[in-house]
């Protein structure tokens, strides 16, 4: 079987390479197109390189001030062909939107149009330094300005802070605007109210900004308990952070009333815009009294999730909050020139109350070009269609599943862009995670699990508008089948997935004995 070849090289079959379901093992550990891939530290060497550069002349004089490195860094290198193959093989162990349906609640995993990628790579956008003289970057500033106009118009707000790097960063920016506005009027309030169905980032943000966080309960319809909220308002409440549509996938019909009550009590309304895709082009949060809302460009406006970033989280602001928005931002003067308002020009443009700076430079330009490209493609009419189709797809799933899966708020009327289910009725010993892993075997990325916390064993399904009816029908068939198995107590679900590149991974071991970097063998 494993006869060494003439150089002494021996194949080593990794543990677990024996065939599943009685198939023969392979000598390599690979199986046809299912290819195992070692770490670069196991296949690369320090003297291999995939670039052509001049040899180092160690005798050359240097200006390193006695700091010259002597020690080895320990970085393995690969040639270009090996590099491309290594990462291509790794990529094949990944699920992505390009491969299949991604019904992940709260994350809006819609199709990422390739025109966006093409545009972002135009040299005039990709090969431009943030600190070039502003005369040489009028087009880049134009993109920021044009995108700002779209965001302000779509939300019915007054201004926008463009620089936050992601959703959570945007939340922080919005809450800091609120805090700055309150401090400007000498009114240091201490508390932020957060509904219990909020994204975990909301309370984290409020706490990070120095506020005490208090929960507001939900009513039996899965919406904010209006009376409980009103009863808690008072002179110590700085803001209410609300998600609309909320994390149960439901619109908060009382938002205007909530806003009026909060404003009357001297506070501000923060809206988590993660679910903006459900209402984009149809509803303007500004009309509902929102003071600040971050918008995830990587959700609603199709910039790629990239396996976990980079995101982008501009924050639209009401008239009351706009003066406090952080630097930098853009301003167009009457002569059509677009200016960058930074520390040195803030007073020139009358923006002297800015609370500070969220990040170096000007934010996620590469995401702005992609998002603007997407907006221009859809136009105002297309974006309205986006929210309609997203909501239609979600309701179609809700109504096609409610007879086999517990849908706690199905009685509340239509859902918005996502449908929520719970694990009620599952057989003893089976849980949401087992159903999720069963969906992997069916060829899907699972839905969001165990979130929101208000529903036991929650399953949050967001189909988005970029899925065809055929895809959704096929998914419903699979989802129903796996749900039935979970209710019937199918033992095979406990060991799912069976067809993924890996079976269930031991997360307890990973946390108990953390191995977070490669260590060379002794």
């Amino acid at each position: 079987m494993n006869a060494p070849n003439k150089s002494g090289w021996k194949p080593t079959a990794p543990a677990g390479s024996e065939g599943k379901f009685g198939g023969p093992p392979t000598t390599t550990g690979n199986k046809a197109l299912m290819l195992e891939e070692k770490l670069i530290f196991e296949i690369g060497t320090p003297d291999t390189t995939g670039v052509d550069l001049p040899e180092v002349d160690d005798s050359a004089p240097n200006k390193l001030g006695g700091m010259r490195r002597d020690a080895e860094i320990g970085l393995p290198g690969l040639s270009e062909p090996e590099t491309v193959r290594h990462y291509t093989r790794l990529s094949r162990q990944n699920y992505g939107i390009d491969l299949g349906f991604f019904p992940l609640g709260s994350c809006t995993m819609k199709h990422n149009p390739r025109l966006n990628e093409k545009v972002a790579r135009m040299p005039g956008f990709a090969d431009v330094h943030p600190l070039q003289p502003v005369d040489t970057v009028q087009g880049a500033l134009g993109v920021i300005n044009e995108l700002a106009h779209w965001l302000i118009t779509l939300t019915g707000m007054h201004g926008v802070a463009m620089s936050p790097k992601a959703g959570a960063h945007g939340e922080l920016c919005g809450i800091l605007c609120i805090r700055a506005a309150l401090e400007a009027r000498g009114d240091a309030r201490k508390v932020v109210l957060v509904p219990e169905s909020a994204h975990g980032t909301n309370p984290a943000t409020a706490a990070f900004a120095g506020y005490a966080v208090e929960d507001i309960p939900a009513n039996s319809d899965g919406r904010v308990d209006l009376e409980a909220l009103k009863a808690r308002l008072g002179p110590d409440v700085a803001a209410v952070m609300i998600t609309n549509p909320n994390t149960c996938g439901l619109f908060e019909p009382d938002l205007r009333e909530i806003s009026d009550a909060v404003h009357a009590a001297g506070g501000f309304v923060y809206c988590d815009g993660a679910n903006f895709n459900a209402i984009v082009g149809r509803v303007r949060p500004g009309d509902l009294g929102v003071d600040a809302m971050h918008i995830n460009l990587h959700k609603t406006f199709s910039t790629p999730h990239g396996g976990g970033g980079p995101g982008s989280g501009p924050v639209v602001l009401s008239e009351a909050l706009s003066p406090f928005g952080p630097l930098p931002f853009t301003a167009r003067t009457d002569d059509g020139v677009i200016h960058l308002v930074e520390e040195e020009t803030a007073s020139e443009f009358g923006h002297t109350k800015a609370f500070g700076r969220m990040t170096a430079f000007h934010g996620q330009m590469g995401m702005y070009t992609r998002a603007l490209t997407y907006m221009l493609s859809h136009g105002a009419d297309g974006l309205k269609q986006v929210s309609e189709d997203a909501v239609l797809n979600a309701n179609y799933i809700l109504r096609s599943m409610e007879d086999v899966l517990h849908a706690p708020y199905a009685h509340s009327g239509p859902c918005m862009h996502e449908a929520l289910f719970g694990d009620k009725g599952f057989a003893e010993g089976l849980s949401t995670i087992d159903l999720a892993k069963g969906l992997i075997d069916e060829g899907y990325h699972p839905m969001t699990m165990y979130f929101p916390l208000v529903v036991h064993g929650a399953m949050l399904v967001e189909p988005t508008e970029t899925e065809s009816k055929a895809t959704i029908d096929q998914f419903i068939t699979a989802f129903r089948s796996v749900a039935e198995r979970a209710k019937a107590g199918d033992e095979l679900l406990k060991t799912a997935p069976h067809y993924a590149p890996r079976s269930r991974l031991d997360e307890t071991l990973a946390a108990r004995k953390p191995v977070l970097a490669y260590v060379d063998p002794e």
């Binding site: 543990a15 700091m67 490195r69 005369d135 959703g167 922080l172 303007r284 136009g379 297309g382 953390p514």
Partner: protein, 453 residues
């Protein structure tokens, strides 16, 4: 619309299943005041791929791309050659369109890549553990200050005057709201970093000392001396690096005694992109600090069949789990930028990174020598890697603007970064990388000669 698969007949069939008369009925929860009677006005209607591309190309042409100029800008964002295969890899749909790897069985590609990335960053920084990336260098710097407060239970951060002013500004902004005290000094234009001045500001209340290496003026401070002074009073040293290529030529911050090393990874694989998205790097030298780190961490484990695999781990520190008790403001990371970094770093390897660093330094030495010979120009630095400060007899800001008209992007004027410091009007930061030709250097020298005569 080309991104929307549903047809009108699909829509009506689905409405039948739902039992709704029309789509509007699905929005019945939206109150009257918030309902719009049609597409939002003041915005254009949909457009073809060709038309949108044309519009965006028009905007892109209004920018002077670095490749079309003699280019010398740095100050925290560096232009390096990115091998073609880097972009090929990051555009693979399995990476580009993947989600955060919360379902590890079908995300081993991203997870193994992150493990490789963390290992590379840790080694580059002379540390034991790096996280899976932050938004960028400035936010990583702020998170490091916050972490030092958690570790030392103190709240005074001493910032070097030669820290990138945007980084200082971000740290100060966040501290306003968290109650940390930030002791930031004014930078001073001297040939050598003012270590003594920095050390004199460290006291028993100090949680951390934040030092940039190479610093904003391009100088190389002796971190060991500062580390010793910080450690003597129980404070942490946070080293900030904005040019990772430098670490192919100079000692790592970890080996010089930094406890937390943060920085900007944009220089490798990511490109300039007008300032973002970039890549924050974050590492610690001592294992005991791991559980206080912000951001995501990828760790090794095994699957049910005993095969090696990777998962996101120690996530109890994070927002989506800990809510108001989370250890940081970061929920995501910069996954795709981390991939670009790690592919570029794999292509370079030890040998290539050292060659790249040597080439950068060689060209920077040539530039410094030639610029020093221009009448009216003085080179400030005694030490530098690929960026240094020159003083010109004139208003550097205006000179930068004037030279840009001839497609010479001469550098970053200190006045742009420090508008309030009078003595900086003559200062200009000049960065030189392997993408700078000796001809570019000649062009810059000739233009300055003409301007200053």
């Amino acid at each position: 619309m080309r991104y929307l698969p549903l047809t009108d007949s699909d829509r009506s069939a689905m409405l039948d299943v739902i039992g709704a008369p029309n789509v509007d009925a699905l929005f019945s929860d939206v109150p009257e005041i918030a309902r719009l009677d049609g597409p939002i006005r003041d915005l254009p209607m949909h457009a073809s791929e060709m038309a949108v591309e044309k519009h965006m190309r028009g905007l892109s042409k209004k920018n002077l791309a670095a490749a079309d100029a003699a280019f010398f800008l740095g100050a925290g964002a560096y232009r390096h050659h990115v091998p073609a295969s880097v972009d090929t890899i990051i555009q693979r749909g399995e990476f580009l369109t993947a989600y955060t790897p919360y379902q590890p069985e079908i995300a081993q590609g991203t997870l193994q890549m992150l493990f490789e990335f963390q290992s590379q960053v840790a080694r580059l920084y002379g540390c034991v553990v790096a996280n899976a990336s932050m938004y960028d260098g400035s936010t990583a710097c702020w998170e490091a200050v916050a972490m030092a407060g958690r570790v030392t239970k103190r709240s005074k951060a001493v910032l070097s005057g030669a820290l990138h002013p945007h980084y200082t500004e971000v740290v100060k902004t966040m501290a306003k709201f968290t109650g940390d005290t930030i002791a930031a000094a004014q930078p001073s234009i001297q040939a050598d970093p003012d270590n003594a001045g920095l050390i004199s500001r460290i006291d028993a209340d100090t949680s951390c000392v934040v030092v940039q290496y190479p610093d904003i003026l391009g100088r190389l401070p002796d971190l060991e001396e500062i580390a010793a002074a910080a450690h003597a009073v129980g404070a942490l040293l946070i080293a900030v690096n904005t040019e990772p290529v430098a670490l192919g030529a100079i000692k790592s911050p970890g080996e010089l005694g930094a406890d937390i090393v943060v920085g900007e990874g944009q220089a490798l694989g990511v490109g300039l992109q007008f300032g973002g998205p970039y890549l924050g790097l974050f590492a610690v030298r001592d294992k005991k600090h791991v559980r206080q780190m912000p951001g995501r961490l990828c760790g090794e484990t095994v699957d049910a069949d005993g095969r090696r695999g990777f998962v996101l781990t120690l996530s109890t520190r994070e927002q989506h789990i800990r809510r108001e008790k989370a250890t940081s403001n970061i929920c995501t990371n910069s996954g795709l930028c981390a991939l670009a970094f790690t592919v570029h770093m794999t292509l370079l390897g030890e040998k290539g990174l050292r060659q790249l660093a040597a080439e950068n330094h060689r060209l920077a030495c040539i530039a410094a020598e030639k610029l020093a010979a221009v009448p009216g120009v003085t080179v400030l630095n005694h030490s530098f890697f690929n960026e240094f400060t020159i003083l010109v007899d004139g208003d550097a800001r205006q000179i930068v603007r004037d030279l840009a008209e001839d497609n010479i992007l001469a550098g970053v004027s200190l006045a742009r970064l420090y508008p309030d410091v009078e003595e900086f009007t003559r200062g200009l930061l000049v960065a030189v990388t392997e993408t700078t030709s000796e001809e570019d250097i000649e062009t810059l020298c000739a233009a300055l000669k003409e301007k200053l005569s």
